[in-house]
Symmetry: C2
Subunit: 316 residues, 2 copies
């Protein structure tokens, strides 16, 4: 049984698994280019998700299971996976820790004027200001109430925030004081001091946040996108920031990445940019591999339930 990976995985993680299942042939590569020649005889394929072409899957005649070592499957070739009835699983669920920490961090930086004080420090200037805000008592709107959204709401509650969630059905979820269904998105957005976007990118969520949504937000709303760039109409976002329809933004994802040096986003006032790192953590590989191993046990021993099967119809 051959397992091919397009992502390096430390020998120390693989060793206990290969001792347990000594019939596995592990082909661990640094990227898709190096992994490609090994795919034709692979039974299990570990990929980063954005590096896999339809032709790769087409040629992999023995392939039965693809496990994506990230949460985003929006760039996977769904047609061929569905045709070949390949099992598709992903690594959602392990991102909630770094991503909820990221969101609380950028919200605190916004109210606490962190970057202002950093600039003052560089000038060796002691400048107190009285307009320092708090998260306490503020309203946090989270669009997407999956495991990451719930963890953000959980932390928000401990900071004394009022939490509003938006999901497809409007069904209640833990840690949210209120839930709105997707059709009432604008009403939910209108209440947020902070608006966090954390939905998967699908046909339904693409371009979900545009001019109308920014108009619905409070004029001091702080907008945070940790989902995927194409969920937001980037031109409308830039316009909303320039015309002060909203108060600011922390952006980790963009329509085209890396973000072009020509983008006005880099220099807009009250915009904080990070290079798609909200889910990154030094603990990532370990957690991702642990999740894969749990699924591998189900695959080999044919008992138990897979974690994170991707619905090939809904594509997440």
């Amino acid at each position: 049984m051959r397992i091919v990976s397009t992502m390096p995985i430390s020998e120390k993680y693989i060793k206990p698994v290969s001792e347990k299942y000594d019939f596995i042939e592990w082909i661990i590569k640094d990227n898709m280019e190096e992994a490609r020649p090994w795919l034709s005889k692979a039974e299990i394929f570990l990929t980063l998700g954005f590096d896999t072409l339809a032709a790769d899957i087409e040629k992999a005649e023995q392939l039965k299971w693809i496990h994506v070592l990230s949460a985003g499957v929006d760039q996977m070739p769904f047609d061929v996976i569905q045709n070949k009835q390949i099992l598709l699983t992903n690594t959602r669920g392990i991102h909630k820790i770094p991503m909820s920490e990221y969101v609380i961090g950028v919200m605190l930086d916004h109210v606490k004027k962190t970057l202002f004080f950093h600039e003052m420090q560089k000038k060796k200037t002691w400048e107190r200001r009285r307009d320092i805000g708090e998260l306490y008592g503020k309203t946090l709107v989270v669009v997407g109430t999956g495991s990451i959204g719930k963890d953000i709401a959980h932390k928000g509650k401990v900071f004394g925030m009022h939490t509003i969630g938006v999901n497809t059905s409007g069904s209640e979820e833990e840690f949210f004081d209120q839930i709105y269904s997707r059709k009432d998105l604008n009403e939910a957005l209108s209440q947020g001091d902070f608006v966090v976007i954390v939905v998967p990118l699908t046909q339904e969520t693409q371009n979900m946040i545009g001019r109308e949504q920014f108009k619905a937000m409070k004029e001091n709303a702080y907008f945070i996108n940790i989902a995927r760039g194409p969920v937001v109409k980037e031109k409308d976002l830039i316009h909303a920031l320039q015309s002060k329809d909203i108060g600011g933004a922390a952006l980790d994802v963009f329509t085209i990445e890396p973000l072009s040096s020509n983008s006005p986003l880099w220099t807009l006032e009250n915009v904080f940019i990070t290079p798609h790192v909200s889910g990154v953590t030094a603990s990532y590989t370990q957690r991702a591999f642990e999740l894969f191993v749990k699924n591998l046990e189900v695959y080999i021993e044919k008992k138990g339930r897979y974690i994170n099967i991707v619905d090939l119809e809904r594509q997440y």
Copy 2:
């Protein structure tokens, strides 16, 4: 009954109280200088704590109660207050929200490399890095387990941190996984990925953190002082940072404030400086005045219990 304040308080907060107790003469000034001439006939005195001299209290012949509109009473003239048997209360307890938010914020900035990404943004540079940390699983040592320390530990627990508290007696406190007594300070410090100082400044706590304590800390420990400058031997702190005995620091308080532009702290690597603002919030005056009004009701109606009586022996 005359009430004199050295801090401006909005008419909207005073109005409902003056309607209820119409016998009060309110003398609300912007600072001690303006308030001083009115003190001789004051019965109640609202001060910021650092602006009041022994001579001021000596001359205030009708003074029965001083309420300090901050938590720090270390600069109050205790001898004369004790001699004249004046009631002393302060505003501790309302700082826990801004201060615990401050601490979580600077810890997240440290692990998330916030200032690095801010500098990259200014250069329009997309530079991903994989060494982003988390609060999750880290050990948080809080020296001082009062209301602020407990609130920091409470939030730390929700981030999945292991919380260790240090207090005088070593007695258990909510939200702390472990408690050490003051005599085992160094042992507690040796375990912290983060060390937060949040004790009142007293004769016992002055110079509490020096060379020996920094030596006891982990070499990547991140040190946070939101207490008072003199709790820490600033020269030893600078030495510990320069010689990399510790990993970095967020400092809101200093031996002499404002911090001199000659201080090496401004430019040390991995040091974040704020100008004594960790307790500042736009909601401060309102919360501080609400607490005073509760005490005022006890004072006038002679029933109930005062909040935050300062122990004149222990001086906090």
